[in-house]
Amino acid sequence: QLEQELVEYFRTQVRQDPEVPSAVAAIRTLLEFLKRDQTGETILGLRENLTQTIRRLEEADSSVAVSSGGELFLRFISLTSLEHPDLSQCKKVMVERGELFLKKISLSRSKVAKLCHTFIKDGAKILTHSSSRVVLKVLESAAADKKRFTVYVTESQPDSAGQMADKLQNLNIPVTVVLDAAVGYIMEKVDLVIVGAEGVVESGGIINKIGTYQLAVCSKAHNKPFYVVAESFKFVRLYPLNQQDVPERFKYKADTLKAVEDLAEEHPMIDYTPPSLITLLFTDLGVLTPSAVSDELIKLYL
């Protein structure tokens, strides 16, 4: 009942504002839950209810960002000691902290864009993959800085999320859509590759739309820099060793996971790019090398 309402709330958030990252929508939902919840008696019970809600939201949208954002939110509000003996006081403190966290991360996309757009030089040719709102923000701020550059976007099947091309045309940036298979062909022409990420793992690698790994391998072979832009709430405590090691619940869309029994028939929607292929990561914590990601994760989670 309350959970159904919350899932609806989450879906409306995403529908109303397509620009909002799914993790932010999830965190707003969790804050709503905190405000509405009447049944919690103890702090431990409250935490358990929050974890339950995160699981429910993961079933609605199986991206890595929802899982990582939810876990970070939980840690942020309950990490320091809550000394008030009265539960409603504690809840108020938690809600305040939650609002603070939300405000911080709502600004993270602009922070990332500010860091990254200086790496785009005048006359650059950029290759990007699929549709990422962070990359869009970066290109927007580079265009606002009066830089001239051209963008190649991959078609990114199976769900051809190449709506990036329309948005870039609206910004008057010359854009070309290329086939996923033409990445190797186009690589010699481009100067740099910028992709977003759905999740950043402990090793410094990323989980992103399928096709990113190929892009990274090609750019390494051509010695082109491969940049990743991601907000810090996408850092997740996974450590995949290879493609098979990524948990199933992230590989497929939420509806597929519920509907289909034998997942071996389904095509995975994400892949894992190891840190050796990534040049730099742009996050709101700063510009990091892949080996520094583990350092930041230890700071965030310990």
């Binding site: 402990e202 090793s203 410094g204 450590y239 060793l241 050796s276 080996s291 350092d295 230890i298």
Partner: protein
């Protein structure tokens, strides 16, 4: 080198005086600025010489001055000096090479008044190879120190916190002579020395002794036993059904992990890789087969033949260095290299008490040379290399450790979690903050 330090101080002092004189004489600010920078660099250079750490003595065996200094120190502590045996390969002539047939205890007088009997026994166990493996050696060392503390009585007019530390110094030199200390033993000794010096002076002797004994017990429990449980918990997540796991030699931690995973009903099989002259893989094989795990046994020369079948490689470590290099049994870096070319993930399992602040980029500078006679093998009544000492151009090299660069290691599993190899300095920094 103390003469060097005095000379440095004298020269820097005179340079300051000369600078002041010229500054007073010169009227132009331009000249004095140059003079200031020149002298400040000279002073900084000499100050740097004063604080830089010296190389440890056991890797400078070819320097006669260092050897003489070591002999004097051992004479003062009344510990016999162990002499090197046999011809040393020139690339490793800066390391000690002892023979197992000439243990240090033969030169000790019985009963020895300087060295506690449990330490003598421990030294003998180390030098004969009865206690081997970094965890086993550290635990045996801590138990021997517990016995030493139990038998200790503070002499009159002395404080326990200072006298006990001084008593431990000759024991540590003795153990070093029997077999060079490992990184884990070094960390354990540092911890004990810190605990002893932190004993408040008004504490009564019995109370202090019980406190120290509980400290040591807690160290063993936390850093070794519980750490092994935590590491198994993380490692089991990485073992999936149908895996073929390759292990090298006998690492107590890796064997523990595999046995726990088997108990949690994971379906996997193990390939044990072994190498001469220690043939430690046979011990690992025995332990795993006893639990019922299906194993294959190969020698390291068959590595590239067997690797296409392997899905993961689990390696133990002797120490993890501050630049992310893994120091382990000789042969480990070879396995990591070949596994990398076959794209097989390499996982290293290591407790955090084995992390050390040393930095090494090669296996030459700091290593251990084992008894060269171990390389002689007797087959069908004939012993090859029996008279190797008579051949003047022949040298036998029996290395014990090698270092693996972090690019070959995919994941390090510690009791703090799964970290990439490059994050070892972060863990060291977090540990230092805790202390």
């Amino acid at each position: 080198s103390s003469i060097l330090h005095i000379a440095a101080v004298v020269v820097s002092g005179t340079s300051v005086v000369v600078y002041m004189y010229t500054w007073c004489l010169s009227s132009s600010i331009h000249i004095s600025a140059v003079v200031v920078s020149m002298f400040s660099t000279i002073i900084c250079g000499f100050l740097f010489l004063l604080v830089v750490k010296r190389l440890p003595e056991h890797v400078q065996v070819d320097d006669p001055a260092v050897v003489k200094r070591l002999a004097k120190k051992l004479e003062r502590q009344q510990i016999p000096l162990r002499s090197d045996y046999g011809y040393k390969v020139s690339l490793f002539s800066h390391l000690h090479q002892y023979s197992r047939k000439a243990p240090l205890t033969q030169q000790l007088s019985i009963p020895s008044t300087v060295i506690h009997p449990s330490i003598v026994r421990l030294g003998l166990q180390y030098s004969q190879g009865i206690v081997a493996g970094s965890n086993a050696r550290s635990v045996a060392l801590l138990h021997a120190f517990k016995q030493v503390i139990r038998d200790y009585t503070t002499p009159p007019n002395e404080e326990l916190s200072r006298d006990l530390v001084n008593k431990l110094k000759p024991y540590i030199s003795f153990l070093n002579q029997c077999r060079p200390l490992s990184a884990s033993m070094g960390n354990a000794i540092k911890y004990i020395k810190k605990e002893i010096s932190n004993i408040p002076s008004q504490c009564k002797e019995e109370e202090a002794k019980t406190k120290l004994l509980t400290c040591i017990d807690r160290y063993i429990e936390e850093k070794i036993v519980l750490a092994a449980k935590a590491i198994s918990k993380y490692a089991i997540e990485k073992i999936s059904d149908g895996d073929v796991i390759l292990v090298y030699g006998c690492s107590s931690l890796v064997n523990n992990i595999l046995c726990e995973a088997f108990e949690k009903s994971r379906k996997f099989r193990v390939i044990v890789v072994d190498s001469r002259p220690r043939l430690e893989g046979r011990e690992a094989l025995r332990r795993l087969v006893q639990r019922g795990i299906s194993c294959t046994y190969v020698l390291i020369s068959a590595l590239s033949y067997i690797l296409p079948e392997v899905s993961k490689v689990f390696l133990g470590a002797h120490a993890l260095l501050a630049n992310g290099y893994v120091m382990s049994r000789v042969g480990t870096s070879q396995i990591a290299l070949v596994a990398r070319t076959f794209n097989v993930p390499v996982l290293v399992c290591c407790e955090t008490y084995k992390f050390c602040e040393k930095v090494q980029t090669d296996s030459f500078v700091s290593n251990e040379l084992d008894d060269p006679d171990d390389l002689m093998v007797t087959r069908k009544g004939k012993t090859q290399l029996e008279n190797w000492q008579d051949v003047s151009s022949l040298g036998l090299l029996n290395l014990v450790y090698d270092v693996t660069p972090p690019d070959f290691v995919d994941l390090v599993i510690t009791d703090l979690g799964m970290i990439p190899c490059t994050s070892v300095p972060v863990v060291l920094r977090v540990k230092n903050l805790d202390q």
